[in-house]
């Protein structure tokens, strides 16, 4: 039953991702991205990655969608995208080639001899997660701090002082 839900969520996620690519309205495609992100969070939850799922749901499908929606409304680009897509047949023609290549490599992966992947994990306990995060991944935590600092300075440079020039 759990497997069925995983598969269902994955299929829906791919559909939502495809919609984010194909929809002409930027707003709708942004929202599709958020939906895909939420469905991914469900998959993560079903696979046993609770904490990752919570982060994915709140940050990716929440925060990033907000960022995109505000970017779309700030740049007024909702309508303009439509014209561009049409003149773009040549690039679209690359799609079958990509798909064939991808399909071939996938078949290669899936049907090579004695290749067997079994999802074996049990959900990680909170204690194990805490141990992993705080005592094993110190450099990542430092990295997160620095990355947030970088993001702050980026916002200062790109938004706050833009009008001074």
């Amino acid at each position: 039953m759990q497997q069925f839900f995983i598969v269902l969520c994955l299929v829906l996620m791919v559909v939502a991702g495809g919609a984010a690519v194909m929809l002409r309205s930027m707003l709708k495609s942004t929202i599709s991205l958020g939906v895909a992100s939420a469905l991914l969070a469900a998959v993560l939850f079903l696979l046993g990655a609770f904490w990752a799922a919570i982060f994915e749901l709140s940050v990716c499908s929440g925060l990033i969608t907000v960022v995109f929606v505000s970017a779309v409304s700030l740049t007024n680009s909702d309508r303009k995208d439509e014209e561009h897509v049409k003149e773009h047949r040549a690039r679209v023609a690359a799609l079958p080639a990509i798909l064939i290549f991808a399909g071939a490599s996938l078949l290669f992966i899936l049907f090579s001899h004695d290749f067997n992947i079994v999802i074996s994990s049990t959900p990680a306990s909170f204690a194990a997660f805490k141990e992993a995060l705080w005592s094993l991944r110190q450099s990542d935590i430092l990295g997160q701090i620095i990355a947030i600092l970088a993001g702050t300075f980026a916002v200062i440079v790109l938004f706050k002082e833009r009008d001074n020039i």
Partner: protein
């Protein structure tokens, strides 16, 4: 020693950021460049001191952890410094110093933002140099990347934003590929610490998930080729270099792309994918393509910085070639060339900054005969270019020679021959640039130009001295490496 390393390489820039942003904005802006000097100089000194300590204790590397001790076994992301990372840390300090010296004259009112971001990018690069874990490597790669996008767009002008966006897109694709490959490797290994992965992959052909690993390797090479700007994946690099503010070009060209691409690649190849001929051979071919393509493309450019960008592609090819040869000699050659490239390419970007500041353009068709007006810039650019073209006794010759001997010995004579003969293209674009910018008759509208005085000239002179001294004293260095048992 351990606390010393932690504090100087990771703590100090953080402290500088704190210091600059706690005081009032005005004071912060006023002292920021000086604080930057201090941080960069301390980093250089600390790198040298750490090298001395390593040799005194007779160790190859020293591991340390960050905030508190990590004794857990699987997946503990410790930090570590060895000779190569110390050389690289020294280069980071040196190029940051040069960038600061350039910025003092060119950055205008943006000093506080610039210094903040410089500290962040230094942290990112130092992180790349000291981590021992693939995922942490990715984290610091991204930090370096984010800081460099913002630095390119620092002046908020059209070109800067455009270059930053192009860089961002390519870099994000590269990061996705790199992280994807790490995920696939993680499937097999259960840990991403260098040592664990190396052990788990030692017999990877018979591993349970071998096909996934192959896909992972392909994604890995593609991702790092984009990050390093190796030939078929180089598209973003000239745009980013050309569009960045002068002092940021110094930083990008001198060290950032080499840290994010080349150093990380070398580190992973050396400590994780040990002895995998498949990867080495691919990189060898990519390296040769880069060498020839970058040099030929540089001959057709019209912009000072763009010529330098294409020449970076070519020189990065040599470093990759040295590593891909798979021998210790090649690795040492690559390490030395890394250092040399940091010096001479930084010199050249400092020179381009000087030319841009004094004449207002970097279009080589509008320049000419500047040697009469800007002797320091002209002479240092000649030295740097000759070093790059591998003309003895300058530094670049020796590292190139080691790389070529290594390739010749361990792979093929033809590869070494091609790599050496491609230097003629380096000489060709050197001549084009010299003829149009410095040599040749003085253009009429440039008669009022004066030398870029002060810190910019100082940076050029210091770096030229390093290039010449390294080249002339190379026999001593070689002897020293030999005594240490490295060669």
């Amino acid at each position: 020693m351990i606390t010393f390393a932690t504090i100087s390489f990771l703590g100090l820039p953080l402290l500088a950021i704190l210091l600059l942003n706690v005081v009032s904005k005005k004071t912060g802006g006023a002292i920021s460049i000086s604080v930057g000097y201090v941080v960069a100089i301390i980093q250089m000194i600390a790198a040298v001191v750490c090298m001395a300590l390593l040799w005194m204790h007779g160790k190859d590397f020293i591991e340390f952890s960050l905030f508190w001790d990590m004794n857990a076994t699987l997946g503990a992301a410790k930090l570590s410094v060895d000779l190569f990372s110390l050389v690289v840390l020294f280069c980071i300090g040196m190029v940051s110093l040069a960038s600061l010296l350039t910025a003092k004259k060119t950055i205008g009112e943006k000093t506080l933002n610039y210094t903040n971001l410089l500290m962040v990018i230094m942290l990112g690069m130092n992180g790349i140099a000291v981590v021992t874990d693939l995922f942490s490597l990715y984290v610091f790669l991204e930090i370096t990347g984010i800081a460099s996008f913002v630095l390119i767009a620092l002046l908020n002008d059209k070109r800067g934003l455009e270059g930053a966006f192009k860089y961002l897109v390519m870099s994000a694709i590269a990061s996705a590929l790199i992280l994807g490959s790490f995920a696939l490797i993680f499937t097999q290994t259960g840990s991403l610490v260098y040592g664990d992965v190396a052990k788990a992959l030692a017999d990877w052909r018979n591993a349970q998930y071998a096909p996934l690993l192959i896909v992972g390797f392909v994604m890995f090479i593609a991702g790092f080729s984009i990050k390093a700007g190796i030939a078929p994946f180089h598209g973003w690099l000239p745009d980013a270099y050309q569009s960045a503010p002068a002092s940021v070009s110094v930083l990008l060209g001198g060290i950032v792309t080499k840290m994010a691409g080349v150093y990380a690649l070398i580190r992973v190849l050396n400590s994780v994918f040990v002895a995998m001929p498949m990867i080495n051979n691919t990189l060898l071919i990519l390296g040769l393509i880069s060498i020839v393509f970058g040099a030929v493309a540089a001959c057709g450019q019209k912009d000072f910085k763009r010529i330098l960008a294409y020449s970076s592609i070519s020189q990065i090819g040599y470093i990759i070639l040295g590593v891909a040869s798979g021998s210790l000699l090649g690795f040492v050659g690559a390490m030395l060339h890394f250092f040399n490239h940091a010096t001479f390419k930084t010199t050249l970007f400092v020179n381009s900054a000087a030319v841009e500041m004094q004449t207002g353009t970097t279009d080589i068709d509008q320049l000419g005969g500047l040697q009469a007006r800007m002797p320091v810039t002209a002479v240092s650019s000649i030295l740097a270019f000759l070093s790059m073209a591998g003309i003895p006794p300058l530094a670049g010759f020796w590292s190139k020679l080691l790389i070529i001997i290594a390739v010749w010995q361990s792979v093929s004579a033809v590869g070494g021959g091609i790599a050496l003969a491609a230097s003629i293209f380096t000489a060709a674009y050197f001549l084009i640039l010299q003829r149009k910018v410095f040599f040749g008759p003085l253009e009429d509208h440039l008669t009022e130009v004066t030398e870029a005085k002060g810190t910019i000239s100082l940076a050029a002179v210091l770096l030229s001295i390093v290039t010449v001294a390294f080249g002339v004293l190379f026999p001593v260095i070689l002897n020293f490496l030999h005594l240490q048992g490295i060669l």
